[in-house]
Symmetry: C2
Subunit: 335 residues, 2 copies
């Protein structure tokens, strides 16, 4: 059905070698030949088969992006930029979701049983424990980790300085005169890097202001969604004295938190100030608009993709760490 290289060669009366040269833009082909070949390609509507090419070259032109859930705004924003950055370098992107399933994470790290289908992987788990331990950098396909600051120096790594980001957010609340500051986002059971680091930054900021963290004001959240933020806040507001500010470990938690404050008959920021982390677009239009720590997702995406491309070219590259800039954005929700 579909024309092959050989069909083109037959029609143009040349060898497949020559056709291949023309198709892949090889320099040394005479003009006469090139014309003949191009005409045959045109006439047959020939399209090269990337799979066959892949089998030969070992490169598929495909990257795999692994996220917990693509419909979490932070990840869909990241995905958008990853796809664009990848396209600029000639790659397409397939997306896998881990849900919140460790076994699935582990499986995907091993290539999901389809290792050779993509040239490299961007792994952006919400929460990674020691799934990585079993992975051998030398044997697995090129891998870039996204999002954590420290966990495994054997892999390339585009990080956020979570401790500082959380510290900045908390300090902003303190600077606004808040003293009973709650936090939402610690993990109930697991000991993941991101929440641990954010908790560390949170406590550090309190400490610098001579405040003790109050256990009852530190709420856990299994996921980082609106529903979790809502539930946790509703519960925090029943404490007495109640908190006068909430630091949410994600903007989505914060969106739920804002709604919960109002449903409790209180006001943001007058009664309770709220700040998040991520800077999703939703927070710029919400009422009140959400103060947050903006993570530079374009930087993260571009850095990760270009590093992955480099590592695909040269798998022997030493593991490196890149830290994405972040920036506090004071908006209405913190007055």
């Amino acid at each position: 059905m579909a024309a092959t290289l050989r069909d083109v060669a037959d029609r143009a009366q040349v060898s497949v070698r020559t056709v291949s040269n023309v198709v892949s833009g090889y320099e040394h082909v005479s003009d006469k030949m090139r014309q003949r070949v191009l005409r045959a390609i045109e006439e047959l509507g020939y399209i090269p088969n990337p799979v066959a090419r892949t089998l030969r070259t070992g490169k598929t032109g495909l990257l795999s992006l692994v996220v917990p859930e693509i419909d979490v705004p932070y990840f869909s924003q990241l995905a958008r930029e990853v796809i664009d950055a990848a396209a600029d370098l000639g790659f397409q992107v397939m997306i896998d979701q881990t849900g919140h399933d460790h076994e699935r994470e582990r499986q995907l790290l091993r290539g999901g049983g389809r290792r050779n289908l993509f040239d490299g992987m961007l792994f952006a788990p919400l929460a990674t424990g020691d799934e990585l331990r079993d992975v051998d950098p030398a044997r697995s396909s090129p891998l870039i980790l996204l999002g954590e600051h420290v966990f495994d120096r054997r892999f390339d790594h585009v990080a956020i300085d979570n401790v500082v980001a959380a510290h900045d957010a908390t300090t902003h609340l303190l600077d606004r005169g808040r003293t009973r500051i709650a936090a939402i986002g610690a993990q109930p059971k697991e000991r993941y890097a991101t929440p641990l680091q954010r908790t560390e930054g949170f406590r550090k900021a309190l400490d610098e202001h001579g405040l003790e963290p109050v256990n009852a004001l530190q709420a856990t959240a299994a996921h980082y969604g609106r529903a979790d933020g809502y539930a946790a806040t509703a519960s925090l507001l029943r404490e007495s004295p109640r908190p006068d500010a909430v630091f949410c470990y994600s903007d989505l938690l914060a969106m739920g938190a804002i709604r919960a404050v109002f449903d409790a008959g209180l006001r943001v920021p007058e009664d309770v100030a709220i700040i998040g982390i991520d800077d999703i677009e939703e927070g710029r239009y919400s009422r009140p608009s959400l103060s947050t720590v903006s993570l530079d997702t374009p930087f993260i995406a571009r850095t990760a993709v270009s590093r992955l491309a480099a590592r695909i070219e040269d798998p022997g590259l030493p593991a490196e760490e890149f830290v994405a800039p972040h920036k506090l954005l004071a908006r209405e929700s913190t007055g």
Copy 2:
């Protein structure tokens, strides 16, 4: 480096045929052989190369999902469900974004020069004109269209009844006693199916209530984002008399609209009622929560993926149309 079928065969002292049989779960293999093979596979850490398999079978196990922008909540929600539905059927999903570029849409419809890399395509453009005209269903890879109600009967099609959905939304505003109803979402220049159909439903509802559509109250929106909704609403509110309700062609437009109303010193829904279409989660937590028309994205995703799988099996299937259910959700933004 990586072990091949032949390596396994050598190690297990059997033929590649037998190994292949074991790997692909062929029935008739003696237990003794199977054990030998499995052990060799284990020892060598063998993983089948899907590319080579593909070259032979012609199936990659990859679907392509094409959307305008993955970070638009409606599309990321859809993507999430498509990826899950695809995984259930053994497919992985690659995502391409068209931006709002017609040329890119056309290019992707032709397979983006990499036709054979995926088994089939789900095409969910925000706005498609006649890019499809040039596409020959018999020659292109299996294709399912998502989102429009009518445009090309030659292709499978999972649709929304846009006319009825828009009619229902508008009628809801009318039932609440609103009479100066604005609409946001018509396209400035292009004549795309979705906006045209929603406009049709909007006018029909007005007509049934004996109202004439007021030109000044029908705002265009180039994209369907928050910024567009904000700008259009800000401008509509300067009309006099000003509208007492706004029907937005997307929830994201509506989120911008709500913010614009408040920035103008007015209240939702008291002064201006607002309704959208899509039912994104954001609208359930916004203040006020957003009345909307819920589109059944799980239905859309599951139907589209399973139809695509069926068409991949049997490309000769006649084109069919599926209509996704929708449902009006009255929330705070319409009082």
